[in-house]
Amino acid sequence: MKKIFETQAVRKLVFLALTFVIIQLLISTNIIDAYLQNTLAAICINIILAVSLNLITGFTGQFSLGHAGFMSIGAYTCAIITLRMPTMLGFFLGVFAGAVLAALIGFVVGLPTLRLRGDYLAIATLGMAEIIRIVFINLKITNGAAGLQGIPRFVNWTWLFIFTVGTVLLISNFLKSSHGRACIAIREDEIAADAMGINTTKYKVTAFVIGAFCAGIAGALYASYFYFLKPNIFDFLKSVNVLVIVVLGGLGSISGSIFAAILLEIISTFLQSLSELRMVMYALLLIIIMIFRPQGLMGSKEVTLSVFNKLGGNFRSGMSKLEQRLKSKKGRV
């Protein structure tokens, strides 16, 4: 058992390292040009947002529409700090402060609102995100509706990769722990979870706070990569977009969220050339996917690296069959 775990961990590491190096090579050879790099950054940020919202909505079953609010807190905090302290240290401080502040707001908002269920919670979190947006429009330090410009860029592919992998690992490890089990039990049946002795309020708030923390990180990365912020970026539609990724990928599937984030960003990049028709096509695609896969691309299943194993196995067995056939043919001739 231990050996399997070890080889799996090694395989995971190799897979991640390969992904990183290949994309890094593609960037340095300019095959992924500046324009595609924006897509790449958007993919990473969306992965963080979707995976963290999936923790709240897909795994713990709490319907939240406030993710853009948490993201904007991270974004503005990081922007304000790096504008005054344009060093690498300032950037880290900004990411950290943004994430912690978002988590703190998540805690303050979550404690009373998580008593609500389903659509009521959705409306409450939606209201919260709107309040945050309006506060940012009216604050001086955020430069109001005009927004902040010239935020120093510290984020490159390396940092995007590290933060994305980090948050995905944080959340998937949390879900594998007994705390994660408790969260899933709450989604499955809150009353039964209560009866089992699970502290349901505690776990709902914990999931909400971790989700907000990660959304704060995503926001900070956004601010530092796209060096321009205004409150309207983080409107209702942004929250809905994240929710679309989560539902499309499958509620309760981390790998689903990752696939969907990549897929949707690539689709919308390719649709860019269609200008007005773009949103129509995008919506149409979503409708088609939801009709044929109502449970999302992945349902609640996960893809692990053992899939590659199986593929490899099939390939190998296929090859050896082919070899045998060739040999027997030769024999006949």
């Binding site: 039990a185 499955e188 009353i191 009866a195 002795g197 699970i198």
Partner: protein
């Protein structure tokens, strides 16, 4: 072991339990019977801490647990198999059972109890990797009881275990309940199926719109004319 004193419960303005009192002694099967809306489920939910009473006290082994969290009550030996089974449908049978032992840390003892549950319900062993939502009604009820047993309770609350089951399954479930009791677990049983409940119960209380109107041993109540007329169809 369990003593309920003058419990009042309100849902909003509706007065559901009107000062009910009763006791459950160590090793007994006690049943609460009564019509729909009499307050049976509310009584169980109040004792397991899922619903707060407006007044009254609940004593477990002489200690006041009225203000104690549901979690703490599970730790002290109360286990509740709620109405309508309420298993975790998208989890496997094994995961459901493991969650029943959520508050326990003694891994070896948990493994022993898991084995006992599988011995009692062999079908759950056969289906341990299956999603609980795909089980039949009877199997789900067995899972709900098995899950409740995984916290190694001293007193087990069963809320309408016969609900929606075929008659031969009802008989089986009641045999199992009796058997759980003989192995040392006290049972508080809520049932609409009064005749079955009275057959296995040591003592029984009859609830009517939030008050206890009758009590006695199971055999006594079986013979009572009022009960026969109202609940046993005689």
């Amino acid at each position: 072991m369990l003593e309920i004193k003058n419990i009042d419960v309100h849902y909003g303005v509706i007065h559901v339990l009107k000062g009910i009192s009763f006791t459950v002694n160590d090793g007994e099967i006690v049943t609460l019977i009564g019509a729909n809306g009499a307050g049976k489920t509310t009584t169980l939910r109040t004792i397991s801490g899922l619903k707060k009473p407006t007044s009254g006290t609940i004593l477990l082994d002489g200690e006041d647990i009225t203000q104690v969290s549901p979690r703490e009550r599970v730790k002290r030996g109360i286990s509740h198999a709620p109405e309508g089974r309420r298993i975790f449908p998208d989890m496997t049978v094994l995961e459901n059972l493991e969650l029943g032992a959520y508050l326990r840390k003694d891994k070896e003892e948990i493994a022993k109890d898991l084995k006992k549950v599988y011995e009692r319900f062999p079908i759950l062993y056969d289906r341990k990797k299956q999603l609980a939502g795909t089980l039949s009604g009877g199997e789900q009820q067995m899972l709900a009881i098995g899950r409740a047993l995984m916290s190694r309770p001293r007193i087990l609350f069963l809320d309408e275990p016969s609900m929606g089951l075929a008659p031969f399954l009802v008989q089986e479930i009641f045999n199992i309940i009796k058997d759980i009791n003989t192995t040392g677990t006290t049972i508080l049983l809520v049932e609409q199926n009064a005749s079955m409940a009275l057959q296995i119960a040591h003592r029984a209380y009859v609830l009517e719109t939030g008050s206890i109107v009758l009590s006695g041993t199971g055999a006594e109540l079986m013979q009572s004319d009022e009960i026969k007329k109202a609940y046993l169809g005689g």
